[in-house]
């Protein structure tokens, strides 16, 4: 019984230590913003690696998601004679929920896992140690640009996701199913509020961007420097990110519906 309590206490302390280390890492990144001369090009490189290289999966996924939502929505709305409301249905679903959440999930799978593996491998091959021994802070040189890159990329990817998904819905609703294009766009414009729907969706994506990239870089930085350790860290990165996205989405939605 005592050993069980000891093991429970030890694992509790381990978890708290992990949260502590992750918190210190975030603090050091946030309060050591990359300088303009050396840091800015590094952040740009990371926006390319994390954002631009994720564009293909984001565009293809959002196109199909928009098309599927339009198809499903049209058949349901048609039962109530409200098929003209397809534009608002798609726009609100995408801008409020699907855009930020699915973008973040795709980002965690594509860019987050790559970040964790890259940093973990740099640790295992002593690249981070050699950097530190050259008096170059690996957090400032490696971690910080990656975290800022993800933080900046996510809202931009979400805007692209929203736009392409709505275009996918337009293709299905107007071009295929024959809805009136004017009704589709004007109903959408009348129903969607800039602050409550668009801005809140972008705010969610900013939060998700920070959390997903934070989890990814921390898991890489804290990974055991072995092949199994890196594999575990990559798995944890995707699992924790996905759970955090869904949990935070509920919390943020509650706050937004409650008017903060």
């Amino acid at each position: 019984m005592i050993s069980y309590i000891q093991a429970l206490g030890r694992s509790g302390i381990d978890i708290l230590q992990q949260y502590g280390r992750a918190g210190v890492l975030l603090y050091r990144v946030m309060f050591h913003i990359p300088n303009l001369r050396k840091g800015f090009p590094l952040v740009l490189q990371q926006i390319y690696a994390e954002g631009v290289l994720s564009l293909l999966i984001i565009i293809v996924s959002s196109l199909f998601i928009g098309m599927v939502v339009a198809l499903q929505g049209y058949h349901t709305l048609a039962k109530f004679g409200a098929s003209q409301e397809l534009g608002p249905l798609v726009a609100l679903s995408v801008a409020r929920e699907l855009g930020p959440v699915v973008t973040a999930l795709l980002f965690a799978g594509r860019a987050g896992s790559a970040l964790t593996a890259e940093i973990g491998l740099m640790k295992a091959t002593e690249q981070l140690s050699s950097m530190a021994m050259m008096a170059i802070d690996p957090i400032r040189r490696v971690i910080s640009p990656r975290l800022w890159g993800g933080f900046i990329s996510m809202p931009l990817l979400t805007i692209i996701f929203n736009t392409v998904a709505i275009y996918g819905a337009y293709l299905v609703g107007v071009k295929w199913l024959g809805l009136d294009a004017g009704a589709f766009w004007s109903n959408m414009q009348a129903s969607v509020e800039f602050h409550a729907d668009i801005v809140n969706g972008i705010l969610k994506s900013i939060v998700f961007g920070l959390v997903v990239t934070w989890i990814a870089v921390y898991q890489g930085y804290d990974a055991e420097p072995t092949s199994a350790g890196i594999a575990n860290a990559t798995t944890r990165s995707v699992v924790y990110s996905s759970l955090a996205i869904l949990g935070l989405d509920f919390v943020l939605t509650t706050m937004m519906i409650g008017g903060w």
Binding site: K38, T125, E126, Q127, S129, S130, M131, A132, M133, M134, A135, I136, D137, R141
Partner: protein
């Protein structure tokens, strides 16, 4: 110099030693690194207990010992990557464990370290790897950086390979590139972590010659951690042998080879059994085979 017996006498606590060769004082030399009563534990296991060690300026000091005795840990303690549980590590007159982050990084600019895996940045080519510390720590022009990098690469014989990627290099070449990078900022101290492990005889010969040449040509202090006994002793001025969390032998290569300690001799001659047993501690073979329960 390595052939002569030397005797180091401490003068007070200012870290200055007098080196006496055959009874006559030939010079004063201060220690670049000093470890005093050093203790270090990991997961409750003592890696070092009360270790005293000095690294004189301008010499090649070898630290040898069986695998897992903490040789790499020793280098990480000197570099400030790890903090001792007790005792002190003094580098260039500064107590490393007490240094704040900024001061530690300032001190590290005066050190170079060659890691066991080379630690080359895989996304940069050879030239950019060597140029990396120069770009980070100086504001030299590209032309000046190019000249410096090519000179460092020339020194290790790899100027012609400056456009290759690390994945295109052999193990020995990787270490030579890492050496060029480690000396890019002209450090006072350079530490080698197992530079010879896994190398073919030619690469080993090249690396050994380079380590000695770099030390003498640049007038730096060298610490080499290795368990390649003959090669390391051939270039070392002074040697420490570590085992069981303490120093079990020290001296010039000649005196260490004449050391009477069984443990030192087992290590130097590579004897399979001795104070370090061949068998991992266990129950008797009979007990295991017959499935007997016991201690």
């Amino acid at each position: 110099m390595a052939l002569l017996e030397n005797k180091n006498c401490y003068l007070g606590n200012i870290g200055i030693i007098i080196t006496i060769f055959n009874g006559c004082t030939v010079g004063r030399m201060d220690n670049l690194v000093e470890m005093n009563e050093l203790c270090f534990e990991r997961n409750g296991r003592a890696i070092f207990s009360n270790v005293n060690l000095t690294i004189p300026r301008g010499q090649v000091t070898a630290v040898m010992g069986p695998s897992g005795t903490g040789k790499t840990t020793l280098l990480r303690l000197i570099g400030g990557e790890l903090r001792p549980s007790r005792g002190n590590v003094v580098v260039a007159g500064q107590s490393v464990p007490k240094l704040r982050r900024k001061a530690l990084f300032q001190l590290r600019r005066r050190m170079g370290m060659l890691f066991q895996n080379s630690g080359l940045f895989t996304h940069l080519n050879v030239f950019e790897n060597v140029a990396f510390p120069l770009r980070e720590h100086t504001r030299l022009s590209n032309a000046m950086i190019r000249s410096l990098v090519l000179m460092k690469l020339e020194m290790v014989g790899l100027r012609g390979a400056h456009e290759l990627m690390p994945s295109e290099l052999s193990g020995g070449m990787s270490r030579r590139v890492a050496l060029a990078r480690a000396i890019a900022l002209d450090p006072e101290l350079i530490m080698y972590d197992e530079p010879l492990s896994g190398q073919d005889p030619i690469s080993m010969g090249v690396l050994i010659k380079l380590i000695r040449t770099v030390n003498d040509a640049l007038g730096i202090t060298t610490i080499i951690v290795s368990h390649d006994v003959q090669e390391t002793l051939s270039i070392a001025d002074y040697t420490y042998v570590i085992a069981d969390s303490k120093i079990i032998g020290e001296g010039t290569p000649r005196s260490i080879q004449a050391n009477q300690s069984e443990q030192v001799q087992q290590f130097l001659q590579g004897l399979p059994d001795g104070p370090v047993p061949f068998h991992y501690p266990s129950r008797s073979l009979q007990q295991d085979l017959l499935g007997e329960k016991g201690a």
